[in-house]
């Protein structure tokens, strides 16, 4: 990146302006959750949405952030994160050269080079009072998230002291933080520090009720509520069976519905293309590595076909 681009990056941060889609489904369950989260945020506490994949944690975080009306900074947790990836660091140099010939017979010449500090998103959010969404924060190692302890409790951002004049930054009073994470047992997830968890108000999310899932699938795909309901029933029953390695979530239902809508299919068991779509997107939730994979796959396929036959008459 050129020096000019870096300076531009420093001078003008990029923020998210979040907006709800026209077909965003806001059932009573979503409203209640949103209101609860907003009340804690208004009181100055950060909130944490925790739940399995496909339960709408990130969407809910964006929806809550939208209600706050502030620009949004979005960070995604990463195993490779260090503190500097969150707060910033020294990048490059700023050169200054002054040649003064105001009096033609006198030459004044100054030249110096200083290291440039570049803020990362967390620092920008703390300075400017933005809303920070830290998605999947437990994907980052616990020590990288240490910086949040002082931010959330003492309202102080502590920067590395490399000769900086502003090593301590008072967090803007409008700064708000929303965290999301998967439960601890998920692969690739670190255990959150007790000290950090203690500072958060945690909402445990579960899969939505049938009506909400139906409304979401219908809105996202354009299918009728009737067809969307059939797909939801197939997915929910598959989930309830426990016969999978990856949990079939709302996403699977949205994918089936979108493909069906794209191909002009109805959710009918007598439509072979629709049935094949369901098999393609749900059968992959199983495992194929073990010696019993072929047998299990056959069983799973039979179960899926039975489900489609049952719900999509």
């Amino acid at each position: 990146m050129s020096a000019v681009a870096r300076i531009a990056m420093e001078e003008e941060p990029t923020v998210l302006h979040v907006r709800r889609r026209a077909d965003f489904v806001e059932t009573q369950a979503v409203k209640d959750m949103t209101e609860g989260a907003l009340s804690y945020l208004a009181a100055g506490f950060p909130v944490h949405f925790r739940g399995p994949a496909g339960t709408g944690k990130t969407t809910l975080a964006l929806h809550v952030a939208n209600q706050l009306g502030q620009p949004v900074m979005f960070i995604v947790g990463d195993e490779e994160f260090a503190t500097s990836d969150l707060i910033g660091g020294q990048h490059g140099y700023r050169y200054r050269k002054v040649i003064d010939r105001f009096i033609h017979s006198v030459l004044k010449y100054e030249e110096d080079a200083v290291q440039r500090w570049v803020d990362q998103r967390l620092t920008t959010a703390c300075r400017e009072g933005f809303t920070l969404i830290y998605d999947e924060f437990t994907r980052s190692r616990a020590e990288a998230n240490n910086i949040f302890l002082a931010i959330l409790e003492e309202q102080l951002l502590v920067l590395p002291s490399m000769g900086r004049n502003d090593g301590y930054i008072k967090v803007h009073p409008d700064f708000r933080a929303i965290f999301t994470s998967n439960p601890r047992e998920y692969a690739g997830v670190h255990e959150a520090q007790d000290a950090l968890s203690d500072r958060l108000v945690t909402f445990d999310l579960d899969y939505y009720d049938r009506e909400t899932e139906t409304a979401i699938i219908a809105a996202r795909s354009g299918l009728s509520l009737e067809d969307a309901g059939r797909i939801v029933n197939v997915v929910r029953d598959f989930r309830a069976s426990g016969e999978y390695e990856q949990t079939p979530t709302l996403r699977a239902g949205i994918m089936i519905a979108k493909v069906a809508a794209f191909r002009g299919l109805r959710a009918r068991a007598d439509d072979a293309r629709f049935v094949q779509t369901c098999i393609d997107l749900l059968e992959s939730k199983g495992v194929f590595a073990s010696s019993r994979a072929e047998e299990r796959r056959a069983q799973q396929r039979k179960m899926l076909l039975d489900l489609v036959q049952h719900h999509c008459q």
Binding site: T14, L16, H17, R19, L62, V72, K170, P173
Partner: protein
């Protein structure tokens, strides 16, 4: 018959030799006549009239300067009062607002629909 008058009592300084600072100070016949106190009464009356005219002009000029000075002092008092009020209001601002004044940043937006 010209009157002889002892001019030293009237203006002793002018009767001294003038110090030469430039070309204008070199004594010439014309200079000597112009700088001297006129010997005749008529000449002295004429010079007196001119000098009194100059005096009244200078007094008018002085009055104008005094009026301008008074006006400038009044405006200075108004400005100083304004400075005092602004400093007081800045001092009374809460710390967060003080920091905001230094940061009128702009940012680029990326729109995201959820």
């Amino acid at each position: 018959m010209s009157e002889e008058i002892d001019m030293s009592a009237i203006d002793g300084q002018e009767s001294e030799k003038m110090k030469v600072k430039g070309m204008h100070d070199i004594a010439t016949g014309q200079n000597m006549i112009n700088r001297s106190i006129r010997a005749t009464r008529a000449q002295r009356l004429g010079q007196l009239a001119r000098v009194e005219h100059e005096k009244s002009r200078l007094e008018r000029e002085l009055d104008k300067w005094k009026a301008n000075k008074k006006q400038s002092e009044e405006r200075l008092r108004v400005v100083q009062r304004r400075i005092g009020l602004l400093k007081q209001s800045l001092h009374d601002d809460p710390p967060e607002k003080r920091e905001q004044g230094h940061r009128q940043r702009t940012w680029r937006e990326v729109r995201l629909e959820y």
